[in-house]
């Protein structure tokens, strides 16, 4: 059977790469004792598929992995078992069965929604920042909103993902900051991936859910 799991990547796990994440998931699967299926060939690997890679430093509530099992299990039991062995910062928050013949995650995922937060304390932003933010028209299709709450600037983004290439969230954010006349080092931006969406190629994208 094929089980789709929704996974978080939070806290200290933000700072590991996609490759590190893959290794972490494989170790957790091995520790779980679940009957994972393996690929064929000279170098058999556990059959796991991943949603598009997260860059280092980006947190997420909605990473998806598809796991192929050799015998049937209750998806909730799979989630529960993996949560027992995953390190802090990674949690399976939803699990469900997917048809074996269903298309791959990378084929269906069309868009990714992000939220970028910047704490503007001690940085040059000039006067009337609140006004500039309010008047900020959608200069870029990828920006869904820009809000200023006290010293915290929040930028919403929606970019093509998966098999469609799109701008990097970091670059979109840099552009917005520059448009707003904010001078700040890019490392201070905290980016979070809120949702992955499907169907964006055909029409309105809708959230991917298990």
């Amino acid at each position: 059977m094929r089980v789709r799991l929704q996974l978080t990547k939070q806290g200290d796990l933000r700072y590991i790469s996609q490759l590190d994440l893959v290794r972490m998931v494989e170790r957790a699967i091995r520790m779980s004792g679940l009957p994972i299926a393996y690929s064929e060939g000279y170098n058999p690997r556990p059959r796991v598929a991943y949603s598009p890679a997260l860059p280092v430093g980006v947190s997420s509530d909605t990473e998806f992995i598809d796991v192929w099992l050799e015998s049937r299990r209750d998806p909730r039991a799979v989630a529960h078992r993996l949560n027992e062995v995953l390190p802090r910062g990674a949690r399976v928050v939803a699990a469900g069965e997917v048809l074996l013949s269903a298309p791959s995650l990378s084929a269906v995922i069309s868009d990714a929604e992000y939220r970028a937060m910047v704490n503007l304390t001690d940085c040059e932003s000039g006067q009337d920042l609140a006004l500039r933010v309010e008047n900020y028209g959608r200069q870029d299709d990828c920006v869904t909103f820009v809000e200023l709450k006290g010293n915290l600037l929040v930028i919403g983004l929606m970019v093509p993902a998966g098999s469609r290439s799109g701008p990097r969230p970091r670059d979109v954010v840099s552009q917005v900051l520059s448009d707003l006349g904010i001078n700040i080092s890019p490392e201070r931006v905290e980016v979070h991936r809120c949702r992955l969406l499907v169907g964006g190629r055909e029409g309105m994208p809708r959230p991917l859910a298990v």
Binding site: Y15, I16, R27, M31, P44, G57, V85, P87, E187, R188
Partner: protein, 624 residues
């Protein structure tokens, strides 16, 4: 105090995962609920330190105690060092992010001499005065590990140093410190000096005469010699079955299972072998249990059986057969580094059929049978060939060979011997492929050539290293002899020269190390950071001639800077072995015949000669 590592700081350095902690099997304790806090400091990067089994052994051993909290700290990379200095962030541990200077005890693992500048880096970033004599309060700073058998160049940094196996002595040290809380520093150190295996450098005065050490004078009640601690039964200490699993890629991402300590071969250049005597094995049951427990606690897909010479483990074939089979069912592969050329067999090769084959590595070390007899590694050319053939017949087509340049009595003929050996191996492989005897792809042959470094506590501890000019000449001979078809890697002779200086150095070298650090030396073992010119400058400014340490032949009656540190092997035995080397005489290994090196019965060592140190294993006879 808990150090904050802001997001922007972590995003500005490479591999921020080195600094976050939060890994599986890490232990975070409330410091208010323990009697002693211990920072285990590894003076290299996270990825290197996390691949070191000793760290995991001590971490687990200490955290097993409810009265102790052990946490890890590694050397921050240069970009992190800069950021920490700019933001005034002190060196802190991964688990609690507490500054290292707030701990009761900080223990450095001294794995190799080129790490010494990183020790200074870490003390500096911790805000701890470097030299023991300058510290009035704050944590006690100690060290252990392979370099502890001659720690003299850095001895003045440490309040105390531990020689030998850590698992038992670490408890004695912790008990001693908890028991003497409230006493002043001098009192505590006096108590510690009475623990077997503990060396308090401040209690000894070193006297010099020209280039030589003329004596080491102990203060009142200081033991002479300092004894090495030996754990007799590996089954009696906590097995490191729950190692912390790094979140980022380490040098080795595998479950490390130690088969045995010590080595019975007596290869004359090998410090690890002589300072680890006698051989103490884990039983087959213990090895299998440990392997399964570790895999279950980590999810690693490879288990690696470690020792100085794994082919010598009693019942190695039986072990690999059984464990290999059990692990294969879990899709876990088994690897066995440190194989002997003369003990490799098709049977062993078969049981190591890994899910994915990596290469095989052997270390003939010398190019001719004559020189191999000098180093007591009497492998015959035809044994090397037979081993390679057995490996190729079993499907391995990647072979790595280790050699050394600059061994005592070496001539150009011996160097040419390396070239000839490689040529013969390649030819044999070609023939075998043509005839269909070996399947698989073309031969991948890698040759790694290091420079011989004379080490303390070995028969070659009196030998001078060749000058870097001479080394370069011989390396050039090799390079031109091999041509382009051989994957040849060499170690920088200048780095080997520094290693030779520090390995057999004395306390007069510390100012040089400090100066090199101040000039910017860090991570000297990393080729990308290695700056020999900084060391040259440091030696010049301190008025120390490195050649006097590296190249000078020591006299037989000379006091050696490490004579007051006893690993248990008699100096006369080492000298006799040196003479036998010069005559090209082989000495049988311990398992074949006891040569009275002195370790038997000393410091609790149980050395059975032909007896197995544990029950239920099959003896393997040595053929040499």
């Amino acid at each position: 105090m808990r150090v904050e590592l802001p997001h922007d700081l972590l995003m500005s350095v490479t591999r921020p995962g080195r600094y976050t902690g939060g890994e599986q099997n890490s232990t975070v304790k409330d410091h208010a609920l323990v009697s002693l806090t211990f920072a285990l400091a590894f003076p290299d990067t996270y990825e290197v330190g996390m691949s070191h089994l000793g760290l995991h052994i001590l971490y687990q051993e200490l955290n097993r105690r409810s009265d102790t909290a052990a946490e890890r700290v590694f050397a921050p990379w240069v970009d992190m060092e800069q950021a920490m200095r700019a933001r005034d962030i002190p060196l802190h541990t991964l688990e609690s992010r507490r500054p290292v200077r707030e701990f009761d005890l900080v223990g450095f693992s001294l794995q190799y001499e080129l790490q010494y500048t990183n020790v200074l880096l870490m003390l500096d970033l911790a805000g701890i005065p470097r030299r023991a004599a300058d510290r009035e309060d704050g944590p006690l700073i100690c060290a252990g590990g392979p370099c502890a058998v001659n720690p003299e160049p850095v001895a003045d940094l440490f309040d105390f140093i531990v020689l030998g196996d850590g698992e038992e002595v670490v408890h004695d040290v912790v008990d001693c410190m908890i028991g003497s809380s409230g006493e002043d520093r001098g009192e505590v150190l006096a108590r510690l000096s009475r623990v077997d295996g503990v060396y308090v450098p401040g209690g000894y005065e070193v006297l010099y005469e020209g280039d030589r050490v003329s004596g080491v004078s102990p203060g009142p009640d200081m033991p002479v010699p300092v004894r090495r601690r030996i754990v007799t039964d590996l089954g009696s200490v906590s097995p490191p079955d729950r190692p912390v699993v790094p979140l980022i890629q380490a040098v080795h991402d595998r479950a490390a299972i130690e088969l045995f300590r010590g080595c019975s071969r007596g290869c004359r250049f090998c410090q690890a072998g002589f300072t680890g005597r006698p051989v103490r094995e884990r039983s087959l049951e213990q090895v299998c249990d440990l392997a399964h427990a570790t895999i279950a606690a980590t999810g690693y897909e490879e288990a690696s059986l470690l020792s100085l010479s794994s082919s010598d483990y009693s019942g190695i074939e039986q072990l690999c057969d059984r464990l290999g089979g059990e692990l294969r069912r879990q899709r876990v592969s088994l690897s066995l580094p440190s194989l002997r050329v003369d003990k490799f067999s098709v049977g062993l090769a078969g049981s190591l059929q890994q899910v994915r084959k990596s290469g095989l590595t052997f270390a003939p070390e010398a190019g001719t049978e004559r020189l191999r007899r000098v180093i007591n590694k009497g492998i015959l050319d035809e044994e090397l060939m037979a081993t390679a053939v057995a490996a190729w017949q079993s499907g391995w087509d990647r072979l790595k060979l280790y050699f050394m340049i600059g061994l005592p009595t070496e001539t150009e003929e011996d160097v040419a011997g390396i070239i000839e050996l490689v040529r013969q191996l390649k030819q044999r492989h070609r023939e075998g492929r043509r005839s269909g005897e070996f399947k698989g792809r073309g031969l991948k042959l890698a040759v790694s050539v290091a420079t011989f470094v004379p080490k303390p506590h070995t028969p070659f501890q009196w030998v001078g290293q060749l000058s870097s000019g001479q080394i370069n000449e011989r390396l050039q001979l090799l390079r031109s002899g091999f041509g382009r078809k051989v994957d040849l890697s060499t170690h920088d002779p200048l780095a080997s020269r520094l290693e030779a200086v520090l390995a057999r150095g004395d306390r007069r070298l510390l100012p040089v190390i400090e100066r090199a650090y101040e000039l910017g030396s860090r991570f000297d073992a990393w080729t990308e950071r290695w700056r020999p010119e900084l060391w040259d400058q440091a030696f010049r400014e301190c008025g120390v001639d490195p050649a006097r340490y590296a190249e000078r032949q020591r006299e037989p009656e000379e006091v050696l800077p490490w004579d007051h540190l006893d690993v248990g092997v008699d100096k006369e035995f080492l000298w006799n072995e040196f003479q036998r080397a010069l005559s090209g005489d082989l000495t049988p290994g311990c398992r074949q015949q006891c040569m009275n090196c002195g370790i038997t019965g000393r410091y609790g060592a149980v050395c059975g000669g032909r007896e197995r140190p544990h029950a239920g294993a099959t003896a393997t006879d040595e053929t040499r």
